[in-house]
Symmetry: C2
């Protein structure tokens, strides 16, 4: 394989590409983490920073049969590390010299770390108003950081910049990224011994939702589970394309707090609609007030997550209230990103409301 045979979208229709594995069979390896499922991953395990095998813990403060999957304890603090481990391993297989990405947040950090560990360059395009701390971290992880006027410019500039022996690894499009995030479905089955009734995930570009749908779909096709769990996708104010597809237009101020969920135009939108509908799940919209309330509750339970991850707790409460989830259902909430990146804003949003 060579870098110039790397495709990041369909050359004919311009749409995203998918990977279908013929004759899939699962053999668990003795390895810890994501590569325990290497037999189901169409990439060589060339780079690892310890991703996967994250804790699954009971959430007594939410009720019985409710579990939290602590994806924020992945190496760079988010579930994106599953996608990066596989996508960067694949880039290495293609013999690329550099990967190019546009992201100011968790994915930029994750891709930078994995590329650096793999010994290839990363060039990350970010909007110039991205938080200084995250920009510094991306550079400290060894990536070349390029600032763009806006988020949309970052995407355009990234794609246009790709040179010889370089590839656009963009996670919104990358099919191997989904082959990494799908391992979360495999891992839940491995940890629980069966599939849960429902899984609640935050959704922006859909890499986690689609990863779970692909993973559970494969497990179903191998006869290892009986049905795909209901997938509930949570979105925030102003970035609710999936929610709007299912429930009609929703007008509101864009979220100020769930920054990891700010994706305006996810290229895999129709796939996201299908994943939610055909699993008998739903899309849920949560407001910033609801997110802050859930974030406070999570922190009080000892779970140091980012605001975007707290959305799943708000959604859980809503789904219980409107009886889309019953108290007997076994439910897994995916906590996607670390709150340690946010300790500078905890004072403003949480502590001022705690009586001294």
């Amino acid at each position: 394989m060579e870098a110039n045979s790397w495709l990041w979208r369909c050359p004919r229709c311009g749409g995203p590409l998918d990977i279908v594995i013929d004759g899939l069979r699962l053999t668990l390896s003795e390895r810890r983490g994501l590569w325990r499922f290497a037999s189901a991953i169409p990439a060589k395990p060339l780079v690892s920073l310890g991703e996967g095998s994250t804790p699954l813990v009971e959430a007594k403060f939410l009720g019985d049969n409710v579990y939290l999957k602590l994806e924020y304890l992945n190496p760079t603090g988010s579930f994106k590390d599953r996608g990066s481990a596989v996508a960067v391993s694949k880039a290495l297989e293609f013999g690329v010299k550099a990967v190019v990405e546009d992201s100011s947040g968790n994915t930029g950090i994750s891709i930078s770390a994995y590329a650096s560990a793999a010994g290839i360059r990363a060039r990350i395009y970010v909007p110039k108003d991205a938080p200084e701390g995250k920009k510094s971290l991306i550079r400290a992880l060894g990536a070349d950081l390029v600032e763009a006027p806006t988020r949309a410019d970052a995407y355009r500039m990234a794609v246009e910049s790709v040179g010889e022996n370089e590839v656009y690894i963009g996670h919104l499009w990358n099919p191997w990224f989904l082959q990494g995030t799908k391992t979360l479905a495999y891992e839940l089955l491995d940890q629980m011994g069966h599939a849960p009734d429902a899984v609640i995930v935050p959704v922006a570009s859909g890499t986690l939702l689609l990863g779970l749908y692909i993973g559970f779909g494969e497990l179903l096709s191998m006869g290892l589970i009986k049905r795909i769990p209901k997938l509930f996708a949570v979105q925030a104010q102003g970035y609710a394309r999936l929610y709007e597809e299912l429930h009609g237009t929703y007008k509101a101020e864009p979220t100020k707090i769930a920054d990891a969920l700010r994706v305006s135009d996810p290229p895999r939108l129709s796939q996201m609609v299908n994943a939610v509908k055909s699993s008998n799940g739903d899309a849920v919209l949560v407001t910033d007030d609801e997110i802050v309330r859930a974030w406070r509750q999570a922190l009080k339970g000892g779970f140091i997550i980012e605001p975007s991850s707290a959305t799943v707790i708000s959604a859980f409460w809503k789904l219980i209230d409107n009886k889309q989830i019953s108290k007997d259902d076994e439910v897994v909430l995916i906590l996607t990103g670390s709150g340690l990146k946010y300790i500078d804003i905890i004072g403003k949003y949480i502590v001022e409301n705690i009586p001294r």
Copy 2:
């Protein structure tokens, strides 16, 4: 058991207390994490946030046979969670209403999270110049935060404040805290199949060094390993009591960057000397310049650690240089704390030195 039978130091000599387990036998449980070794822990597993089972990864950038133990991927971002899980479980067994601690850093955060998860109060005394972000996080985790003029005042005020049904859980003294950190030795054996030749750890109050010494000592007594690995304890400028005991007085500016290592007067100093000496290890002193260099290298490898953890990399280079460790030795470096708490200073220390 009741709260008023809780001892935090010897009522006769005022020294720290130790726990010796009669007839110790190890049976591995099926659980993930620290409680996999429950048979060797003298506490009921009453509270867990997913601590332990952290990744052990190869560190190719340091050489062959060198492994990094990613303790910063514990639930609150540091190895302290092992100690907190056991110490807070024990407090619950004693039926206490509140635990009292003095710490402005990782331990304050960890104890707050575990106490909150256990449904008991935590009261944390911190020096008033502690970073605002960490103070906010401690309060957001549900603890009562009390500011003291200095670090020494925080200790004194904490101890004096203990009321009815409350206990002083102070990690510098607490013997159950060490019963938690000792599980790191068990976990290394479990992951590697044998004990490494050497382990390098950052040292402040010695909770990790002593935990390893206790753990490996128990494994040796059960015949599960052949010898205790050489334990190398790394200290920073200005807080080098252990180093000075072995190598004589060292005068230097106190460290500005390794804030987690700032302990002036560790009550278990003589035990620390013994752990290093009788394992044929040593104490190593590293300067702030050396720490920054190592921190940069760790970040470039994709490991988002705090500066205090980077000390072990500096020490590794020194020990190779002066032949206290050979290139054939199997060495484990413990990366103790998360760098995500430090993204606001990465710009200053790391990025300014990267050529644009």
